[in-house]
């Protein structure tokens, strides 16, 4: 009961600092360039302390897979979302397993622990 009330208060308070990436299970589609496929992802940023996210594509052993985006580090303002396309060679599609976004942290002069968040979607 108290947990439910607490959850409601947190959700209604509007001070959630969060990072979200969708879709969870992206799919590849034709890109208009022969031998290259693309997928579109969306990142939502409601972390006031973070303005940049780094995108990466990995295989199932977390080794990087070559890919192309407009920017690998994307600026996303507070309380906004960005759609971006990822292009990959058709020959790498079988190996590509995860696409991840990692928050980039800024330094300051306080003694504290920072939170880096990473969300990974999976190609099935």
């Amino acid at each position: 009961m108290y947990r439910s009330i607490g959850l409601c208060l947190v959700l209604l308070s509007g001070v959630v600092l969060s990072h979200e990436m969708t879709p969870t299970y992206p799919t590849w589609s034709i890109s208009g360039v022969e031998g290259v496929k693309k997928t579109t992802m969306q990142i939502w940023n409601s972390r006031k302390d973070v303005s940049f996210y780094e995108v990466g594509v990995f295989n199932n052993k977390w080794k990087p897979i070559p890919f192309v985006t407009a920017y690998k580090i994307i600026k996303i303002d507070y309380l906004s979302k960005v759609n971006f396309d990822i292009y990959i060679r058709t020959q790498d599609i079988v190996e590509a397993t995860y696409v991840c976004s990692l928050s980039k942290l800024r330094s300051n002069n306080e003694s504290k622990t920072l939170l880096a968040t990473r969300i990974c979607s999976k190609f099935k």
Partner: protein, 167 residues
């Protein structure tokens, strides 16, 4: 004249209101949101220790995971094993820490901690229930390679990594 105006007003007022239901539709897709619930801070109970323990004036960082689909994600939360920025430290720092479930939105998640696995400083949880889970990452850094030397003065920062990985 007034009677006419009043009559016209009554007639216009008697026209039935044409109401129509407008549907609002929405779609909740599978997603994972990682939230910073409570920022962490280091307390300095003695010259050679930095700790997030509240008893030592520290603050344990808490991260919240919201998932809208069961069995779609796993959460990986780590405690720090190095400082991301600090004054120059010529001696060794010994790190210890733990990641635990701090709170859950439903009792169905009560088995998360027992079912989790650990590899180094990273603990992995299978998010088998849709809802919200709070994870706490505690860390202690002791300076001096066992000789209890004082930390040099300055700002110390360490990073907790919280990952939500689609399964």
């Amino acid at each position: 004249m007034n009677k006419i105006l009043i009559t016209i007003s009554l007639i216009l007022g008697a026209i039935p209101v044409l109401a129509e239901n407008i549907d609002i539709t929405g779609n909740v897709q599978s997603r994972c949101t990682v939230n910073l619930d409570t920022p962490g801070a280091y307390g300095n109970p003695n010259a050679y220790t930095l700790t997030t323990a509240p008893a030592s004036a520290g603050q344990e960082p808490i991260v919240r995971f919201d998932v809208s689909l069961a069995n779609a994600y796993k959460a990986e939360v780590s405690y720090p094993t190095s400082f991301s920025s600090s004054p120059s430290l010529p001696d060794n720092v010994a790190w210890t820490g733990a990641v635990t479930v701090a709170q859950t939105s439903t009792s169905d998640m009560s088995g998360y901690q027992a079912a989790s696995s650990i590899a180094g400083s990273k603990r992995t949880y299978a998010l088998t229930v849709a809802g919200t889970t709070w994870f706490k990452s505690t860390s202690i850094a002791v300076y001096g390679g066992g000789q209890a030397k004082a930390f040099p003065g300055g700002a110390y920062k360490a990073v907790v990594l919280a990952e939500c990985i689609a399964q």
